[in-house]
Symmetry: C2
Subunit: 416 residues, 2 copies
């Protein structure tokens, strides 16, 4: 393993022991202090970012990728605001979720505690450096950040500012660290940092997430891939159904909780297909339809099997007709990624059956899939949407960045 990682791992463990016992008030002061310092150091951050941008342009990087890399006054301000918002949220650490008194008199409580050291592997957005630091510090976790090589100057400049804010308040600067070696080797080695890292979170595209899930021996939380469906039942209120489908597809097509496939009950194919396709067309959505859909909406592009599995993240929608609710559930079970799934129906039993049968992080009746989000759920800031079943499923908010321990108050009990 790279020397740098071992060293950072050791320092992070030390910082985690410090963070385990600091108060919420102290952590919040660091967060607001860091917010102020980010704004004060705007020029320094933009200068460092400029080095990254120049290097990227030299390497012929452009378009959306270059845009993600860029910092400006607004983006620095929003990093700072993010930290202030975190300071204002309640701290989950220390909460005793439950406490029981056992027959032998033992008081057994389950208390939320920090996880310890969290590693984050991400791509080119430098704002992740401040966001991830904020979420982890708020929950008492030390962080080892490994961002993309294109953003290294920006990340190190942000790091300096964050560490100054920590030291200001008597915290160890090592509570947040950035891995300077951005080779493939450093990413691979991070995935094997058992004993140093308690959790590794990949933030980025599908490729990055897959690589981390397959290669990490450190526990991973998988976030973000969403092939989401809206199923319109024959007993749906069709007006609601169109509004929900259009919102799920077009409100923000590039995010993981946007709908990618619309399933339509055969019983309403004749009126509903042209109506919904027209509404989609007005929003600039390209339809990829099965045979029936193409018959009712000739402008549709015939769908191939690949379309059912695709996360377009774009103004494209696959549309398929199904014979029943069970057929819809089967389609979702086969092609879905377990993120967000919706049924539109006025039938009570079908609504309940859909909720019970569909295996996903969030299952909706008569609402847009776009609500799967930490703020919309009322949890506040999040680090992503978990699509795995262990530890946390759905929005990964502050609570999900904690572990628990049992605290037991006795008065001399021994086991008979």
């Amino acid at each position: 393993m790279l020397e740098e990682l071992i060293e950072k791992g050791k320092k992070a463990r030390g910082a985690a022991a410090f963070l385990r016992t600091v108060s919420s008030a102290e952590k919040n002061k660091v967060l607001t202090g860091a917010a102020g310092r980010l704004e004060i150091n705007l020029d320094r951050l933009l200068e460092a970012n400029h080095l990254d941008i120049v290097a990227a342009e030299k390497n012929d990087i452009k378009g959306a990728f270059l845009d993600r890399l860029k910092l400006n006054t607004g983006r620095v301000k929003s990093m700072a605001d993010g930290l202030r918002e975190l300071a204002a949220l309640p701290d989950p650490v220390g909460e005793v979720v439950s406490m029981v008194k056992r027959p032998n008199g033992l008081m057994i409580g389950k208390q939320r505690v920090p996880i310890g050291v969290i590693g984050i592997i991400y791509e080119s957005r430098p704002n992740v450096t401040a966001d991830a630091f904020g979420l982890c510090l708020k929950t008492g976790n030390a962080t080892v950040l490994r961002g993309g090589k294109e953003a290294i100057h920006s990340n190190l400049a942000i790091l300096d500012v964050l560490q100054e804010a920590l030291v200001d308040r008597g915290f160890p600067g090592d509570a947040v660290q950035v891995v300077e070696n951005t080779s493939r080797e450093s990413a691979r080695d991070m995935m094997r940092m058992n004993g140093y890292l308690d959790l590794l979170i990949p933030r980025g595209g599908q490729g990055l997430i897959k690589t981390v899930v397959e290669n990490s021996s450190v526990p991973v939380i998988e976030t973000g891939v969403g092939n989401c469906h809206v199923f319109v039942d024959n007993q749906a209120d069709q007006e609601k159904a169109i509004a929900i489908a259009v919102n799920a597809k077009t409100h923000r097509p590039g995010v993981c909780n946007a709908a990618e496939t619309l399933l339509i009950h055969t019983g309403i194919a004749a009126p509903f297909i042209p109506a919904v396709c027209k509404a989609m067309a007005e929003k600039g959505v390209e339809i990829r339809g099965d045979e029936t859909v193409c018959r009712y909406w000739p402008e549709a592009v015939p769908a191939t099997k690949d379309d059912w599995a695709k996360e377009y993240l774009d103004l494209i929608l696959a549309v398929r007709v199904v014979g029943s609710l069970d057929e819809a559930v089967q389609h979702i079970s086969r092609y879905g990624t377990g993120h967000s799934e919706a049924i539109v129906t006025e039938n009570y039993s079908k609504a309940q059956a859909f909720l019970a049968k569909v295996d996903a992080a969030a299952v909706y009746v008569n609402a847009s899939t776009r609500f799967t989000d930490g703020y919309e759920f009322g949890f506040g800031a999040e680090i992503g949407i978990s699509t795995q079943k262990l530890h946390a499923r759905g929005p990964l908010g502050l609570k999900e960045l904690t572990s628990t321990k049992y605290i037991i108050y006795g008065n001399g009990q021994i086991r008979e």
Copy 2:
């Protein structure tokens, strides 16, 4: 990947879809049915077990290993009783842990659901086959079991009986499966069954657990390794301290929550070391002491550095004198495995400091570490004690074998 595993993985997914929606009453009927069938088929089980025993003896297997492999009337009865006890416990699946009404009218509930398919890799005890099946079926999970090659005849015979009980009640027999290929390859391949397995639990010795943690790309829950400490503060009630230390060491030395090291505050070294060592000696415990301990108790064997890290699982106790609570915490943080740790003290602030500073699944004040156990905590049957920080920490009971999903009731909400 082995064909057998792919096939079993597919069947398990089918069974998991069935199990997702069955009622608790139906699952309980299968459990009690299986209990009865195990008892009725006693002879068949003992015959199959006999084949394993004969083969093991031919391979020169003996002692504790051979004993673990053995079935007899009592052990079959206790497998059956275990299933009946599970049937009597409340079913966590379906519980809505919380439900909030958001400002836009969405009702967002968090509901306990089965995890899906759980793989279990274990060693020679055939009773794990029935126990793991019971815990998983109760929580609506399908199971793929990969036991040790020495127990294959026993495991397949138990499997037959369990599958008969499933089919009896209209359940798919594939809800529980045993991997017939018991080569190293089948264990290795199981660790890569992403997409088929949602969770992999290793049950067995430290070597097995380490191998699975390091090589599995399927999420793992780590159980069982416990290097547990009792710290006796200078302000302890020494009588309580002796009772607790002796209980933690000797009540059942072979289990993971038994104490392995006793830390003694230097302030009470003179009276306490001889007193506690005498009590331990009366129970046949060998003392491995640091210099001070050896001075006060000359019968002690001088401890080496290895002793602090050792999980003896035997009537051996490492004893060390520390200068302060913080030194005790540092020792525990360095050598402990995050399982169960206890302080004995009458000082309020020290008790609270120990609870806050020690990072372990269960932290005790004035009680024996032996209480870290599903039944003692009031949770009922468990599959092990988790020492990791994600998903579940401490006793892995029925609740810990579930995931959650968000169920959302809307009336046409779209995101603005």
